[in-house]
């Protein structure tokens, strides 16, 4: 069997990627392209929606329809696109700042209403585009451009949050294991209904790595790999064993109607009422 590369979705003429050397966004892009081809997505029927940030530049490299909007609002834009044309495959690409910090309210509500979109979050634990300031996923004590003495706040686990909000599918992978990450993305694409969320744990060697002396990109990826625990293992583990660990796996995988299917029922009811 020939391996699917997803090349038809890559806007080759815009290469090389604009991201810093060592950034994991390219690995996530590869996973997405391959998963798109594996899942039978088409250029004409797909819209990639982004906000602002390093990962917010990703839409430029897709040959599909694309919407590059404002910081934090990609999920709301994507909800509008999908509602206006439910036959589309709508993919929102958000970072931890864009998706979980400034856009946190849209994230929990899109998950709650099960807006029928796929979200792929690149989480590098800081704001890369603006120079490495702390975000909602920066861990306690971490050094960033705006937490020079160590970060005073706790991070949150975005996948747990989205699961609790009601999303049909939630998974977390890392750039240290692209095969697993791609599988999660494929599964997200292949589910037709509901809110599908894949969190890709990434690295930012330029800022987060430098500030926290976590080594160069290969060293950071190796640390990321060693720091992960499979969700099945984690379920059997004591809480102290999981401190600071990244739990990878499927956080939620349930059948949900999704907003579009539910709203089609509303449209039916409304048209019956108006005929009476």
């Amino acid at each position: 069997m020939t391996r699917k590369t997803g090349e038809m979705f890559l806007k080759r003429e815009l290469l090389p990627f604009f991201w810093c050397s060592g950034c994991g966004n390219g690995i996530i892009m590869g996973c997405i392209f391959r998963a798109m081809e594996e899942s039978g997505l088409s250029r004409e029927n797909t819209v990639v929606v982004t906000g602002i940030g390093c990962w917010g530049k990703a839409d430029d490299y897709f040959t599909t329809h694309a919407f590059h909007g404002t910081h934090g609002r990609a999920l709301a834009v994507a909800t509008g696109i999908k509602s206006a044309n439910p036959s589309l495959d709508v993919i929102a690409l958000v970072g931890d700042g864009d998706g979980a910090t400034i856009g946190g309210n849209h994230l929990i509500h899109a998950a709650r209403r099960n807006a029928d979109i796929t979200v792929i979050m690149s989480n590098n634990n800081n704001y890369g585009m603006t120079g490495g300031q702390y975000s909602g996923t920066t861990p306690f004590g971490a050094i960033t451009s705006t937490s020079r003495y160590g970060h005073a706040e706790d991070e949150f686990d975005v996948s747990e949050l989205v699961k609790t909000a009601g999303a049909g599918y939630v998974a977390k992978g890392t750039i240290a294991n692209p095969l697993q990450l791609q599988k999660f993305i494929e599964k997200a694409f292949q589910k037709r209904n509901g809110f599908r969320f894949v969190e890709a744990m990434n690295i930012c060697p330029t800022y987060y790595g430098k500030n926290n002396k976590t080594g160069n990109a290969p060293e950071m990826i190796e640390k990321l790999r060693k720091n992960t625990v499979e969700i099945k293992t984690a379920r059997a583990a004591e809480p102290h064993e999981l401190k600071g660990k990244i739990i990878v796996g499927e956080y939620a995988d349930k059948e949900v109607d999704g907003f579009i299917k539910r709203y089609k029922e509303i449209q039916k009811k409304a048209s019956v009422v108006s005929r009476k």
């Binding site: 329809h65 909007g69 609002r73 709301a76 709203y263 409304a270």
Partner: protein, 372 residues
Amino acid sequence: MEGNIAIGEGAIAAGAKFYAGYPITPSSEIAEHASVSLPKIGGTYIQMEDEIGSIAAVIGASMAGAKAYTATSGPGVSLMNENIGLACMVEAPCVIINVQRVGPSTGLATKPAQGDFLQARWGAHGDHAIIALAPASVQECFDLTVKAFNFAERFRAPVFVLSDGIIGKMHETVFIPDCEEIKIENRKPATCEPREFKSYEYDDDLVPPFAPFGGIRISKANGSGHGLDGYPDNSPENYDLLARRLVDKIENCKEEICLHKAYYCEDAEILIIAYGSSARSGLAAAELARREGLKAGLLQLQTLWPFPGHLVGKYSEKAEKIIVPELSLGQLKSEIEKHVNNIPVIGVNRINGLSLPPGEIIKALCCRGICG
């Protein structure tokens, strides 16, 4: 029919298929109307988590090809402003209804005002053009909402309907024509070879033909500096062309966009200029003044932005005084003053949540020695 409902009916008549909003007084009836009317015709009503998400969803729906709108009041527009700029930039046709109430902040939540006149123009940051229409009757709520959608489609731009708490909550008889008699405009579709399509390649009217997401023409909407193909181009030369085109496509058609009504203006020595609910007070004041033998007239502005300076100039040729009644501390007056020379412009202002009685306008004339 209530003014807010007439706006909702106007939206449906214009072909709207998508509404996203967040409830706020005194505009909530427009949301309620949309939630009942849109699903009947296969459209979608969605109540978003806030006004920022509402306008973002409206823009998304518009780029997927739907006629989309939202309704709110001043505090909601304050939250929407960044994305109203986005709508200008990606050229997403959409209609934003602002049923104005007293501000700033929560102000007087249910009381009418006209304090968002300049917010409509300059709420979004950066140089841009905007269209804003203002109804002064329930009939105009219907008619001007249809117009707002038509302008949005024609110019691929966000259009405000700037109503106020009085007009929104007022009941009057409305004539709704048969649908085939209502003039509806739709955005110009792209017809070129799919492979040659560029999202922002514009025609002589400076407006790019539209290709919805999901079509065979691959479409790229971009809120950042972009070239004709929608891909980033941050060169000074390109940005200058882009930003000026977005302004010029509207400003070049100012005369067509600027709607108005003139009452007793032919020989008016005292010209009242007003919009919305204040235009009703202005008309009553002009009629009272005429009965007293004064040559008073009213210029009612139905289009507020682009500002109809040419109409102010034309109608004030014979005027000795201009009176500007408004439910703000002179926002409209300040704009009028830019377009007249050597004619005193007198404001009649209220900002306490009460309407302007015609008598107050007359009194203002008398106090300033106009009534003899």
